[in-house]
Symmetry: C2
Subunit: 431 residues, 2 copies
Amino acid sequence: MAKSPYQIGLIGCGTVGTGVLELLHRRRDVLAGILGRPIEVSKVVVRDLEKTRHNVYGFVKPDVFTGDPADVTGNPEIELVVEVAGGVDEPLQWMKESLSNGKDVVTANKAALALHGDELFQLAASSKRSVYYEASVAAAIPIIEILQNGLVANQITHLSGILNGTCNYILTRMEEAGLGYGEALEEAQQKGFAEADPTLDVSGDDSAHKLALLARIITHSHIPVEKIFTEGIEEITAEDIAFAASLGYRIKLLSIGSRHEDGSWDLRVHPSLVHRDEVLAQVRKEVNAVQVKGDAIGPMLVYGSGAGSFPTASSVVADIVRAAKGDRPIMNSANGQSPEIVSIDRVAVRNYIRVTVLDLPGVLGRVTSFFGMKSINIQSMQQPEAKHGQPVPVVLVTHAVEDEVVSRALDELRERTDLLNGPTTRIRIED
Amino acid sequence: MAKSPYQIGLIGCGTVGTGVLELLHRRRDVLAGILGRPIEVSKVVVRDLEKTRHNVYGFVKPDVFTGDPADVTGNPEIELVVEVAGGVDEPLQWMKESLSNGKDVVTANKAALALHGDELFQLAASSKRSVYYEASVAAAIPIIEILQNGLVANQITHLSGILNGTCNYILTRMEEAGLGYGEALEEAQQKGFAEADPTLDVSGDDSAHKLALLARIITHSHIPVEKIFTEGIEEITAEDIAFAASLGYRIKLLSIGSRHEDGSWDLRVHPSLVHRDEVLAQVRKEVNAVQVKGDAIGPMLVYGSGAGSFPTASSVVADIVRAAKGDRPIMNSANGQSPEIVSIDRVAVRNYIRVTVLDLPGVLGRVTSFFGMKSINIQSMQQPEAKHGQPVPVVLVTHAVEDEVVSRALDELRERTDLLNGPTTRIRIED
């Protein structure tokens, strides 16, 4: 007698949901072979029941569509709920109902997990169910599984990732084509790599959500997203990209987690200068990458597609298979104690600083003296030729120095109209 | 009441075994937290019971050592056997006994698995037990798990990997320091990156074993290692490395698996010219890397430490955790039909060809005519200045052409003492 199918419900039938249905269909024989029973999509919750969906009609029975999430979350036939709807509050509610009703949950919803993960994971534990979320970080890259399982024997000491395809696309195009930020954003929007409202991506918030999820695994504890220092790419100019290139660097929006000797963690998201010889610097357009260092393995890096229907659906389907096999993700550590999160003010890094000085005799000497007075040591300085009488951009690279020292110095320097006339920019350097 | 420990037995206490004991000790609290019970190493099988082992005495009880493998393979208390002894026939026997006695098996033994995997996996299936072998390919990189689980929704269409740290170390040093093959091998031996008898590594056989294991997963079928075309690095010269560099390429020993449209597979191991802009070309020294393409995710790449005690032990411990959790690896596909393996003769690639021509008028024209007659189209040609009257090395790059056409042409050309006087080398180009 054939085994009864593994019945799942899908909430959301947009870009990702459509990809999930297609991949489940395409791989149905292989997956049934692996599991010993077929996967059956019993219900698909959509917002608009009237909409025709020719792109998925071949993959599901016509009567699966419903407008009521309770047809999935409360359906006794359904063992697993796949939430790919978007939003935060509603999906959170659906996932909680599903767990309470004894169902496992697969989601790609980084925002809901980053903001309410603790509540959700605790509910999963008390319901003896699991939340699988491979697709929520770096789409195609199985970084959650790698950190949870593959590197379980390691204390992770460092992680740096390019986790937002939109930002990486914009920065790549600014560098390659010499575009300004606005032009590159517009191109990204036209090509479908940026939303109409790109705020969540370009502000760094999306990267911070994803870092919070990875940090939960590598620190073995809940990391509130507001503890992650976050700076976006909106202020990056074509000029900075060009100056960085002349110094041998590219600018990337990095999500960084670094463990200090005392067990505290430095967690932050901001644009970073990465030396062009580093593989991270070579990750182009919408591709994502994560570099980790473990005390047993040393450095490891993985890169792959960070967005899109099929790359995201690939990880959703992998999670569906895991859930169907009964593989329980590792959710918690032995102790669960929260580590201290180091304030950005106390983090010491090298900095790229661009100031715009007045064309006056001795002004450069006075600027460098200013930094010297503030205990900021200058490693190198670059000043292109400028027209006489015009403000002159000057680029300085500092030795490693505590972040707050630089922030305070620059706040003060911006007031010095006797020296400067124009923008002052600071970008941290990732070494 | 505390749960009873998960008891495991270790066969082998060399480089890898020692690392496993240390990592299990170092991570004992975290692992016990994950599993809800501690992992206990009950027995360790060693060849020499008399040998003092100060490096592991802190990690195990003094009475765990035994000289008799049956104390592990036939021990009713032991749930899992970790085989890290080395060799082929004996380990195979121990693993079979362990499976027959209802134990799971973790191994790093690529040779035993590549040569006898089918027998072992079938025994595991009939015993309802599992063989875990993450550490057998690319040490620290969890490529087995990535291919088995993470990318399960994909038809893998291409895989190319740097899977042998010894060869990559030698080739890197030849390029960086201009060393000859012999000198670089000697240095690798001195630094512990090559065995006293390096044959298994430099012949490409070890890479072929590892490719057979990866191919088993991505083709969903048993791949006899003798079906993999295998060529080593012993014939690579400093001259070839320099010529390749001048063309913009590096030479890497690649393990390649490529799926053709008709479902057949091209599987081979040989030195390859890789363009220096490719990330694979930038993988240095003993580091390993695997690039895969999946129909859902597009390209993905992962690199990390490919050898050494802790990197290998890291993957062994990850497998121990998987087994203890009861996560069953995916061993077989729906159908299990063996795909056709394409003969190397039928594979079309571009080639780097170095010939040594006599310093005679018109000889270059006659060589290019010769290739033209054999339907081998030359894409570019490079001839450094040489002393008058001396044989002259000439480097040709061909357009893509069936491998057998090149092999036959070169066999014939080698007889042409009217044109050539010196070595004729062919290295395939990976595009």
